[in-house]
Symmetry: C2
Subunit: 342 residues, 2 copies
DNA sequence: CTGAAAGCGCTTACAG
DNA sequence: CTGAAAGCGCTTACAG
């Protein structure tokens, strides 16, 4: 009833367990090859009893698991926000296939209504994987710091700065992308820009604002006004836009993009005739909107792939300095931007 | 430089390795509890040297991994068709979280340009997981048969019939759903129905046709004509529809749904005035179409969740008879169906 | 060309 | 309450 082990094969084939191991792994351990006759006997015996090596035992003996982990700092594992996470996961899978790794989703660390934790009872629960890809907004920076000092190999998808720890990450080059957007708007004649974000104190948002300024600051008559959307706290956006004669608004994420569109619609502000709007992340055509959004397309699968490549090099010890990689975004001109009204 | 082991903790705390194990697992192995003082010493020692048990060693010793695998019979792991697979994966993750399992994606079994194989060198590569969820169209039925005779626990997402093997599966109840669709069309006055499929010799398609007939056969004047879309072989659909005065067409998947719509458009057949069309799977609003599709919504996350529930019961040995579970679909009346023209 | 044995890092009866 | 030891199923130097 128990599944067969190496020992069963060895006995049936009349050889030692070491020999079975070597035949099945094709490895000869730096020795003369194993005789064809022996090989055949072992293979036959294995096939006969339906033997398959226990990968857990192999992992323990070899000390390498060939598994990359995926850990998500979010309330639940990608589900409601699956549109956001799955493109990254796609890339992770692609890369894993290419490099002959399996992918382990750390779902065990999620408990109801609580953020997932790497350390449970102060113990690192990630050791099943050789290394791990991190995603998610609700980063626990202390855990990352600790993981880093333990030399556990990991790569964050997204920029995270941890004091005293140079961690590895792969991220969209928001600064360059936003600069491209800003230049586009400037070229269309816009000079008074608005910048809408949900949370300002977050690395990606910094990068976007910074990118915007690198362009705008070249035009003395141009300016950027920043709006922070809190809970219900966007009531004065329309007012301010009108008062300050803002003609173009950059929104950092799709929720603020949609909100902004709705606010303008309610105020009878026409898009793009009166005001141009850009979404600084991937935005799909929305039926209720009826316009192709001008946006920054993020190559999320590409980022996932890159993150795994870096991670595996890390695992293999091929990297000494920390990797902080920027991936280009793609500017997509849509129908929500137009020339500055005169 | 090496990561600390149980032995290191034991020495530092001045206790035996078994004691460390018990303290850390909270298990007392049917004995009097471990003294508070000892507990504290062990915990402190562990924290001090940053010890975390090696999960691989734990798995080997315990013989249980708490991992559910996911294996996809498709050329590549969900990527191009990610829209199709990811909703299932969402459900799998949800269920795994609830039951405290991790999820392992078997990407190692995918090699370029070849279908993935469970058995490599005639050895089952799935043993890392306690059991496995299967998905994908390009099922290798021989592998499933073998897996089943080896008593490896698995659940297929989709119906697969294997001679002499009653396997476990969870599937959309296409028969009931299609019957609902057929009734809807009959109620709208349609009597001559068309049924379009890409491959007819596939379990889900059988179920759909069967469901259609259970309704249509109650109406003596009603009939169903079946069309099989091969490669480029749908040229006569329009012709036949006109000749036979077919007024409603059921399409088994979204690709045949889209193709049918295009063919009708080219022939100046109006939807739904002249012909009603239904998609027998989840169909999104398509901008080029401009109509909300009448379709059968599939609760894919729900199926993923159910599949994991069944799998874990299987692993725990709580199930004796094979489980073949039907999940209800949801009929969504859209704009591509209307009353039969008179 | 092959066997015997140590080792991977845990858990769990079994004695004390 | 704790220690010593066997065992989980492999791999890999080391002898022969």
């Amino acid at each position: 009833m128990k599944r067969p082990t190496q020992k069963d094969v060895a006995e049936l084939a009349g050889v030692s367990r070491g020999t079975v191991s070597m035949v099945l792994n094709g490895s000869t351990n730096g020795r003369v090859p194993i005789s064809e006759e022996t090989r055949r006997r072992v293979l036959e015996a294995a096939a006969k009893i339906g033997y398959a090596p226990n990968p857990v035992a192999q992992m323990l003996a070899k000390g390498q698991n060939h598994i990359v982990g995926v850990f998500v700092y979010a309330d639940v594992f990608p589900y409601a926000q699956s549109d956001y996470y799955f493109p990254y996961l796609s890339g992770i899978q692609q890369s894993a296939i290419r490099q002959n790794y399996n992918v382990l989703l750390f779902t065990q660390n999620h408990h109801q209504d609580a953020l997932p934790q790497v350390y449970e009872n102060s113990m690192n629960t990630l050791r099943l994987a050789d290394g791990c890809i991190f995603m998610g907004q609700k980063t626990d920076r202390e855990e990352l710091a600790r993981l880093h000092s333990e030399n556990y190999p990991f790569v964050y998808v997204g920029r995270r700065e941890i004091p005293n720890h140079e961690i590895n990450y792969v991220i969209n080059d928001y600064a360059a992308g936003t600069a491209e957007v800003a230049q586009h708007l400037i070229d269309l004649g816009h000079r008074k820009l608005g910048f809408v974000a949900n949370l300002i104190n977050f690395e990606p948002e910094y990068d976007k604002i910074r990118g915007c300024h690198t362009v705008v600051d070249n035009y003395p008559e141009a300016s950027v006004t920043t709006f922070s959307f809190g809970k219900q706290q966007h009531a004065d956006l329309v007012e301010q836009v009108q008062q300050k004669h803002i003609t173009a608004v950059l929104c950092t994420d799709d929720s603020s993009f949609i909100t902004t569109l709705k606010l303008f619609e309610q105020a009878n502000i026409r898009i793009p005739e009166d005001v141009s709007i850009v979404c600084l992340t991937t935005a799909e055509y929305d039926q209720s909107l009826g316009l192709q959004p001008t946006h920054l397309y993020l190559n999320r699968p590409g980022i996932g792939e890159k993150a795994v490549e870096v991670l595996i090099k890390l695992i293999d010890g091929e990297l000494e300095s920390p990797q902080q990689i920027m991936m280009p975004t793609v500017f997509v001109a849509g129908e929500t931007t137009g020339p500055c009204p005169t």
